[in-house]
Symmetry: C2
Subunit: 476 residues, 2 copies
Amino acid sequence: MAVKITTRAENYSQWYIDIILQAKLADYSPVKGSMVIRPRGFAIWEKMKSVLDSMFKETGHSNAYFPLLIPESFIKKEAEHIKGFAPELAVVTHGGGEKLEEPLVIRPTSETIIWAMYKKWIQSYRDLPLLINQWANIVRWEKRTRLFLRTTEFLWQEGHTAHASKAEAQEETLRMLFVYQNFAESFMAMPVLTGEKTESEKFAGAVKTYSIEAMMQDRRALQAGTSHNLGQNFAKAFDVTYQTQNGERDHVWATSWGVSTRLVGALIMAHSDDRGLIIPPKLAPIKAVIIPIFNNQNKSRVLSYAKVLFERIKTSYSTEIDDDEQNKPGWKFAEWELQGVPVRIEIGPRDMENDQVVLARRDTGKKITIPAKDLEETLGNLLEEIQNNLYHRALLLRKKNTYQIKEYAEFKEIFDGPGGFIESAWCGNPECEAKIKEETKATIRVLPLGRDELKNHNCIYCGSTADKIAVFSKAY
Amino acid sequence: MAVKITTRAENYSQWYIDIILQAKLADYSPVKGSMVIRPRGFAIWEKMKSVLDSMFKETGHSNAYFPLLIPESFIKKEAEHIKGFAPELAVVTHGGGEKLEEPLVIRPTSETIIWAMYKKWIQSYRDLPLLINQWANIVRWEKRTRLFLRTTEFLWQEGHTAHASKAEAQEETLRMLFVYQNFAESFMAMPVLTGEKTESEKFAGAVKTYSIEAMMQDRRALQAGTSHNLGQNFAKAFDVTYQTQNGERDHVWATSWGVSTRLVGALIMAHSDDRGLIIPPKLAPIKAVIIPIFNNQNKSRVLSYAKVLFERIKTSYSTEIDDDEQNKPGWKFAEWELQGVPVRIEIGPRDMENDQVVLARRDTGKKITIPAKDLEETLGNLLEEIQNNLYHRALLLRKKNTYQIKEYAEFKEIFDGPGGFIESAWCGNPECEAKIKEETKATIRVLPLGRDELKNHNCIYCGSTADKIAVFSKAY
């Protein structure tokens, strides 16, 4: 076995990189900070896209495409927006051999170019709501990059909606947050917290930012998707008004929301083990692999038996058969485990004689032997079981590593030690938040939804009265 | 009816733009030369993508993603390549607030960045063939742009394959050309010529370029897709060698091939009429629209009758129902015709009483009345008929406007007059080709495949012996 993966215990960061490179999910490119997404990694992103795209369409959104290049002056129209994005811009100064009159920036997000168009398209309440999504590439000049998690260029989707009222915009913001939660939990098998971001962590230009946050296996948080209520900020910056039903004019209300190829990184970190990638069945491009085990005497019989089973299941379960004759079964087992295929189907001469097959689960490694005639049904159930098991395993990890803490000494101890999610009361003062970050490296991931009922608490840092519960964690 | 479309007879170019803007397929953006693809236009591109993507996967290709930004030095490695693309480059000189050490160009095509990666990935014959496709955005600084047909930024797919032999690369080049032909003819209902490009028209860096060429309704040619045999040019520029089965080292053989959002423009121009867009049913995002016709007395009965039919067919045929109460039926008819929906289903009170519906075809305008119980079957047949009719209508147009010409005087007369495709013998001399272009504005679109058998001809321009048949036309 040529493959070498650093163990999680040894070096969690290196383990993550090893899996990506060895399983050929992505590669470093010659362009600093940019990655190449290789076919096996891209196949996972394609699966994600396809599920999310259906969810967006079911909630009434249409896809469109806006320009990559944005005039520099547009980016500057919303004051908070430019403050947030200025340090990350890539700037095109020359085109067609000539210096441009006005530099163009490569989109770091598309609010500004989209709202310039919405000004043309929105006149009356009959044009609202306008519910558009875009799948696109984004460039943000990042100093420290990490494959999938933070790259100068990444792929994402960005929803941009316009509404006739504040309430509708808020409803949409939460609707899409819950779409993301549903996707993360039901498809990625990754439990997430949902909640509001603090002032210091919200999107540049938003009134409110909500996010979904997952716990990785090293007990750090990963922000996996965000949904922003933009209020009338962009409508005002681009002067987008509409005629109301009573014939008045008002500025439009907006939201934006996005997830990116970062989700592929989250998926890897959430489930994989020291033998390689683990992909939840619902997002696995290949759900099962058949590995015939043969020698020179029985080769043709075992292979043809295996191929009959392969033909039987391949359309329902997107299966591969590994009938390569140069590599030994042990090598193949390791290789397909590395790639994260949820179920391995072993078929040897004895199995053939007994009309049975062996199924090995990628998540637990457990093997079962079943009659070949039951293959479809058992495989279907097993895939479902693996999907559920991965979710519950991740949920258990989070539960075990989530603490309700009232004393700052204890709080610090946890972040000096094992880390995790800490739920504590917070007074709402950004200074307390900043001090905590400085002293522990933990940030407020979310003010979790539906937890405002807690009263009579004291801020974990300053001890003054606190009406908010915050979830703190070190984060990616 | 608020919509105004210039007729084709009046001004063909303006007719094309009117359809795009009025049917809301696309819009001009504030960035010179870049367009916004609006939801209705993007839905057509999504349909195209989905069909093509399946075709690529069926022929063994996988999708991947390579960086948008390419170091300037890479683009310069293949001498012909840089000569062709230098005038069209957009250049990023600043990132993250600092001047870059080496400028980055926005990909005008991805051969160079991809072959830099192939050097890492290809070691032995066991790594070949490598069959990768990418869906991406491209920037080429264009002086004169036209919505969909030629824009500074466009969306496309680019296949990039690596092979162990010259023959395999040539086979792949033609395989993908025929995939494009099949797509154009079977899905876009657009007949195309296939053939090789002359030296002067081939891709910068290719050994051979093949294309598919369609005739638009103004009898001009539109190049709708290209497939290139790159020989060992890029393998040599990026030093990509592999170990052959006999243990020797050889440079790898390559192809690349692409189609773009230009296809949406081709689709519009090929089929639409003076009332608006016509979309072939197989690519129509909405295949049928139900328009209930009612007054205040019968409104609720007609609507509920129409909705029953709508529920019956909507999943099989992606149907919409237009039950808006503000617009009159005539207005709706015009609006949905403008949008190119293949079949309109009218349901009035009398139809309801007789349990019948009226189907109106978008391509011919013909109406038929049928029993409501036959709706699914008739609609299915009708959509197929429309698809076929559009193809044959386009084929007939091409046939009527294709000429075999032996005299240059006659040749010139045609291009001074109605235009079309002219098949003439050509000696192969680029000077004759250039002179013809200068004098008639017609270029050689292709040297059509399978037509080499013609002998004893004289070049249409210089009269010397010619062993090639060339198809000439003015082109987009």
